[in-house]
Amino acid sequence: MNQPANATIPNQAPAAVAAVGADMFAAAVEAQAVPVERVDWKPPMEGTVDDLATVAADPLRRDANALAVSRMLDVQAMLVGVAPASELLGLEKGQFLHAGPPIEWARTAGPLRGALMGAAAFEGLVEDPEDAVALFESGTEVTLEPCHHRSAVGPMAGVVSPSMWMFVLEDPATGRRTYCSLNEGLGKVLRYGAYSAEVLERLRWMRDSLGPLLAEAVEAAGPIDATAILGQMLQMGDEAHNRNRAGTLMLLRDLAPHLVRSSRPAEDVAQALAFVGGNDHFFLNVAMPACKLALDAGRDIEGSTMVVAMARNGTDFGIQVSGTGDQWFTGPAQLADGLFLGDYGPEDANPDIGDSAITETAGIGGFAMAAAPAIVRFVGGTVPDALATSRRMREITIGENNRWPIPVLDFAGAATGIDVSAVCRTGILPQINTGMAGRVAGVGQVGAGLVTPPASIFPAALAALAERTRSRGAGA
């Protein structure tokens, strides 16, 4: 019989022993001069023991997870266009997309509320954003839908309305596409729930000037490889969630000649260059749909325990898992732990919000913290914490992404493909780098920091996976 690589050869001592459980057995092996790798084992999350066994014994699981990761890693995310949401998504007046799992107006948090109010004014549904409250309360002329349900992702409140311009990312092998709005900058911006006149003015400028300019430049530049830029960013001190400085400048480098050659007046071009160059987060809105494009390729594989989306709407934190289709598993969004702008403090912050955790879901952001020593202080950490975090995330991921190597970790690929069962086994929650929006509608950004999903959603997803395993008549 052909034996697998690590099969026991009766007369040969094992090259190494991985020991989990009572230390005395590990010590006994070590005393016989065989290298031992000891597992720091702890009991799994409460109530998950039986479901873990069922899912572990699912004959589909191993190959399903390998397929999910390989499909994800095979995706090349190319920036192919910029166009209004109405054209790209068929979004009509009164239809709004938002970040996170589905939510109704009554349960929306301040930042999402503020962003929707601002977007309603921007679309001309109301004159004054304050008047939009009645519009959304009545619910007759407006609809709310998660960005994720339309192949899109939205940072923070993630509100998308028909007139907003969006990046289009495409996987050339399959033609699949994902979308994200253009980044407005920091501070008082719609995505943080601000809706003052200056916010709406900027949105109009982005609609009338920046969007069309970018569309022309991207068209002329030809597809831009976002996946490759992400790899370079990690070499240059970005983790592509809270720090996108290198990515933004690389995008600008690719677009600048075409912006200059565009049909638009030089003054418009100068404004666009200044805006993009002065906005370190501009590339985030390309990184996010690039990550979603990759993760969507890993969706809907029966038996796979890989997380394909993590998203928050400011009230709920939700995840979707490859093996459970479009089902959301939700729990209360947590408050981030971090640093505050100006006089703001923890009492001013809204719980976690945004689709941007798609970056961590894909293995960057908090997972690649070690690549971005410059931001660890901004998000309240130290360099050793960042190294430990990136290594710790390997305990809950299925694979690593060799296109996204982290130099300081000896160029190990970013930990990729969060495994629901590994989270339940270890109790290690995904680490997310995040911005903090003000709790009250209209305030805008108040800080940035670190956050994790609510622990309960992973056992809930595991239970659903186990239920499906059992209904297939498989597993122990």
Binding site: M1, N6, I9, V17, G21, F25, D40, P43, R391, A422
Partner: protein
């Protein structure tokens, strides 16, 4: 006036062996009358209640710290001792780099080690999950854990077989691979025999006897006590046979098992007949030869003379009483002793009875002949194996010694890697105390080799000095005990 201090530490975890050591260290602290630090399993809660502690509600994942102190003033020192002992039990990262933490799953550990064999001894309910990591990494796995549901055992073995991998266990106490002992294993010379064992202590008996006869062992692959049951169908036994058959250094294979399902035994024997290497089956059962007899047969197959199996101590003499009381740490040794004793003495009550009507109640006492396997799942849930933690057996030894009905006490002592560093240090004084009551005969099967960390001779002599009659062969020890019950000498 003693005071009691009980606290629950939610979410703290340490394995049962580590906690045993912690409890001992704390109990030795001045001012501490009794100490038990344990995970809040049902069995441990019972033990704590038995010690007289009043316990608040606790969940399975909580740690209980229970202290009985000479007075309130002793508390801070006792708690400091708990923390120090727990810290000592905690193995930190081997690297000086504080940003590299130890792996948290078997899969992660195998990735870091670049492959190898996995050794799983977590609580049974979590064993499958760790074992599957090994199979997913293309590695064989030894599952020491007991209390693994049989359907989980079947699932992991089916997956392993489909990938050409070997699952040793669950409840696999012993294996030797390329001279490396895993779990409870004896130190033997490498050689021309391969062992497949659905029985840990049965395997150790074979290792000990072959070593005495000067025959080396290339490998002993454990398969778990249930492998030859109807539910499992000998899956790992067949894989283990394939592995040994593929090894040209092995001339002869012996399969040793607790009583198997007859149809599975037949199927595996047929499978073995198709292999190139001759296979001898030492399967315990009503009319089957005992393990020692089978090893003698194996020696004959190899053309090696059968030595005289050694004994130590003065032959015991009967002093009254009518019942044989066997207190075992080895399940197969207990099985073998029951099968042999039942032939001449009739029914033997047990917690692992030969037939259901002979089952013992939870107090583990009965009139008449009685044999207890302290290594059985029911007595190890949430606590260490009796080859590591002898407390339960020592308690029962004192009890049966005081029972005038007890005619002979039969014990086993199993040496090797993983077992207690010096079992005689606890057992010899207990035997002496038992014999102090009325010189009740104590017969011991001491299974081990001279090269074992504990040293066979040193252990046997210490037990003999305490008044026990000591044998290397469990079958020989049992026959002697039976003869003493029957009132005579052999």
């Amino acid at each position: 006036m003693t005071v009691e201090h009980v606290e629950i530490r939610p979410g703290a975890y340490a394995d049962s062996v580590a906690l045993l050591q912690v409890s001992r260290d704390v109990a030795a602290t001045p001012g501490v009358a009794a100490a038990q630090v344990a995970m809040a399993t049902d069995l441990n809660l019972e033990v704590l209640a038995g010690m007289g502690f009043t316990l608040p509600p606790a969940s399975l994942n909580d740690m209980v710290v229970a202290l009985r102190l000479d007075d309130e003033a002793a508390l801070p020192a006792a708690l400091a001792a708990v923390d120090a002992a727990l810290a000592a039990a905690r193995k930190g990262s081997t690297s000086g780099d504080t940003t590299v933490a130890a792996p948290r799953t078997t899969g992660s550990a195998l990735r870091r080690a670049g492959g190898g064999l996995a050794l799983v001894s977590v609580p049974g309910a979590s064993a499958l999950v760790e074992a599957m990591d090994a199979l997913d990494a293309g590695s064989d796995v030894m599952v020491f854990s007991d209390n693994v549901p049989v359907e989980q055992e079947l699932a992991m073995k089916q997956i392993a077989r489909s990938r050409g991998l070997l699952v040793m266990g669950p409840d696999c106490g012993t294996a030797v691979v390329g001279g490396v002992g895993l779990g409870f294993a004896n130190t033997t010379e490498p050689g021309r025999v391969g062992i497949v064992a659905a029985s840990g202590t049965g395997c150790q008996q074979v290792l000990a006897l072959l070593d005495r006869a000067g025959v080396g062992v290339s490998a002993a692959l454990g398969v778990g006590g249930r492998d030859l049951s109807t539910a499992i169908g000998g899956i790992s036994t067949m894989t283990a046979l394939d592995r040994l058959d593929a090894d040209p250094s092995i001339e002869q294979v012996i399969v040793v098992s607790k009583p198997p399902a007859p149809e599975v035994a037949a199927a595996v024997e047929e499978y073995a007949a198709g292999l190139g290497t001759p296979v001898r089956f030492a399967l315990l059962g009503g009319d089957q030869p005992d393990i020692t007899t089978q090893v003698e047969g194996l020696l004959a197959d190899l053309g090696v003379a059968v030595p005289e199996w050694p004994t130590w101590g003065t032959p015991a003499t009967a002093t009254g009483g009518s019942a044989l009381r066997g207190l075992f740490v080895g399940g197969t040794l207990c099985d073998e002793a029951m099968l042999l004793a039942a032939q001449s003495l009739g029914p033997v009550r047990s917690n692992i009875p030969l037939s259901p009507e002979l089952a013992l109640g939870s107090d583990l006492t009965a009139d008449g002949h009685l044999m207890i396997d302290f290594g059985d799942d029911g007595l190890t849930r949430g606590r260490a194996h009796p080859m590591i933690d002898p407390t339960l057996r020592l308690d029962h030894l004192a009890k049966v010694a005081q029972d005038p009905e007890t005619a002979v006490i039969l014990l086993d002592v199993v040496l090797g890697h993983g077992a207690q560093a010096d079992p005689a240090a606890d057992l010899a004084p207990a035997i002496a105390a038992a014999r102090g009551v009325r010189e009740v005969p104590v017969v011991v099967a001491c299974v081990g080799t001279s090269a074992d960390p504990q040293g066979l001779e040193r252990q046997a002599e210490a037990l003999a000095a305490a008044g026990a009659e000591v044998h290397l062969s469990n079958a020989a020890a049992t026959r002697r005990a039976v003869a003493l019950v029957s009132g005579g000498t052999l």
